[in-house]
Symmetry: C2
Amino acid sequence: MAARCDSLIMSRIEAPRDETTGNLLDRLLSALPAEAVLTDPDVTASYANDMASFCDAGAPAVVVLPRTVEQVQHVLRTATELRVPVVPQGARTGLSGGANATDGCIVLSLVKMDRILEINPVDRVAVVEPGVINAALSRAVNEHGLYYPPDPSSWEMCTIGGNIGTASGGLCCVKYGVTAEYVLGLDVVLADGRLMSTGRRTAKGVAGYDLTRLFVGSEGSLGIVVRAVLGLRPQPPQQLVLAAEFASTDAACDAICRIMEGGHVPSLLELMDRTTVKAVNDLARMGLPESTEALLLAAFDTPDPAADLAAVGALCEAAGATQVVPAEDAAESELLLQARRLSLTALEAVKGTTMIDDVCVPRSKLGAMLAGVERIAAKYGLTIGVCAHAGDGNTHPTVCFDAADPDESRRARESFDEIMGLGLELGGTITGEHGVGILKKEWMARELGPVGMEMQRAVKAVFDPLGILNPGKLF
Amino acid sequence: MAARCDSLIMSRIEAPRDETTGNLLDRLLSALPAEAVLTDPDVTASYANDMASFCDAGAPAVVVLPRTVEQVQHVLRTATELRVPVVPQGARTGLSGGANATDGCIVLSLVKMDRILEINPVDRVAVVEPGVINAALSRAVNEHGLYYPPDPSSWEMCTIGGNIGTASGGLCCVKYGVTAEYVLGLDVVLADGRLMSTGRRTAKGVAGYDLTRLFVGSEGSLGIVVRAVLGLRPQPPQQLVLAAEFASTDAACDAICRIMEGGHVPSLLELMDRTTVKAVNDLARMGLPESTEALLLAAFDTPDPAADLAAVGALCEAAGATQVVPAEDAAESELLLQARRLSLTALEAVKGTTMIDDVCVPRSKLGAMLAGVERIAAKYGLTIGVCAHAGDGNTHPTVCFDAADPDESRRARESFDEIMGLGLELGGTITGEHGVGILKKEWMARELGPVGMEMQRAVKAVFDPLGILNPGKLF
């Protein structure tokens, strides 16, 4: 560790630096330990990007890894004084470029602030720092018989701070909702370094405007979350999964509508189209049925999941399912879920690169959405696999392309955009859970309209009058 | 109706009016039908107050009852042009003075915009105007097998717009959360009359800052909600209620902690103290056990509520319950709930007037809260009954006093404030579900601190730069 620090310090001293950067580093180091300040260009370059395609990233002037609230405050005070942009980062698993660096910025990585400060089973809350890994929190609360539902696909890597920044979702949302619904209160370092507490640690609370919720999904553009009070639920019974095959996506979507209209509350209701099923088989030899046009996975974590699966299976059959297979036990259920969780990785393997749309439509419009994506794929001559949190109407049409082929890349970007246009036409949103970042800025303006955008910008200006917080994102 | 309109028009013409008011009325009437504009001082005076004690109210210049979005826009444009304050109102069942008129204001009553525009069982949403009565919506969605959970005590009278304005709760919150969690999207008329849409009608959506949530609980101070997309749930099974008697509030609070720590999810978990039980008996001869120090009501709307009640009953006994009585059926359950619902009315009958606190504490602090309220009641020589949404830690200590007695009134106000101070000391909030209004302005500042208040005011200024929207509330 000491050797690593030395080499970093040396690189800081030795790296060619202009006066501005020198001044910035001196100010930062006046209240930060040397090991929290990275300047080696090879190292800082590795912090430039999240996992989105087609998003520009600049070269950070410095990467800072604070361990305390006071250190974050010092970074923000310094940034305000010197008018230096600050790009906050968690695990950089985001898919919209929301964590991409800008030239000369301070990358503020919160990953070292990773303590779980409290888990309280009576109050059903956890208090955490932003760098806590989602899965680490989930496991820690499980030990107390508690459940933190939000489960983005990247849950083994992504941080709670990142989840809050993007208001991320996951497989659980159809029953348990998104991250936003579990954030009760926040400590936030403002652009000028002052600390603000929002919200509460109680079950309810309505004193003043809900600034907590304003920060959730704000992609680091309003302030830096340094502590969160999260609501927890009691751990539900182990869920049991059913798989249903359909000869058309239309029939699968009809089944989804019947399930939701029938008053069922599945803990998971996912769809994989033929392209996705094939990709998963190709990658992992899962033995999924490739003759199917759409594979539906439904799960229940109720006291009698087998009964619920039977009812839902009957609805699938009524909608024309060609085969309905309820898992016998947890192990079989897990196998089916693994197939779903592999979807994005498998689609990435098809052509080397993907662009993952995140369009959410009213679930009654899911059939129209999937039909439209198929048309768009044909129009652009591209492979577009769809997996979807179908119970939420949240689709992830995933454009597979060869990034080395300029024409295919152009078509990929155009089809990606056209899919968002289709989502808006169907009364949906351009992003259900991945956020706007750099990738969807123009589309956010289209979704919100001029009045909405004016008010969004005005809110941004309240919290970030100098425009130093994650500039170039959202707007 | 025509006769009524005529007399209103005459009163408008005949009432002595200064130039400013005359100009205002002329402008309003240029795009509003005469029957939507009330100026008879006797009539307008009846719109001056909500149901809070100790809150000043002014004399409105005019009461406007629009029926369309365009009419609301016209009112706001006029108000901006002439710099006239606008006080939005629903059914005026609020308990914090949030709907009280200011001198010379336009009271904007939304009660005539009371259409349910859509109920969609597949998308599980309802689209409503703000004047829809809570109970009317509940019944309408029930007919589709759906459930709109928020159920404030005033649900037979209060409007959805008012519920959104105050982010109101109810008995259901311990399982189903508050109003905020059911508001997916809004159409809002801004201070200058422009129309803004926020949010979505999809299950998920994260495009931009969550302005929807910012408006929920904003007490009409940021804009006028003219349309709301509300999330719905499938209707759960009929709940079954259990009553448990305790020889001390401490034992009852211990039971509550055991129930929540044990992972149970009751659909209702309410507490009535001895004072409240006696008041209910005095009012309605309910035959509740007056020897009890605390009566706990728990309910489950699960597939097997009797089993859940048995488990919770055992936990109550372990905590020292002197008697545990599960209801045999829906009728017995309803009787127990009626007693709870009568609590506030019954406490009002004790001395003629009440002030109802709304302090929410972490539920692990509920015992300390109730003990503190007892101390405060003794200190001030007052009757303070407590009923509580105990599962949420949301207490309603209700100060009973004779408003004609100045000294008792002073003590009532002081004890009311001291209870809020106690709530803050215990890590709670001054308002769990009733809002801030006029009554708790100073206390909101104390809860949020100077930095929080500065940002709250700055957000207010974004949406209401002229300060015409419900002035004197919150701040």
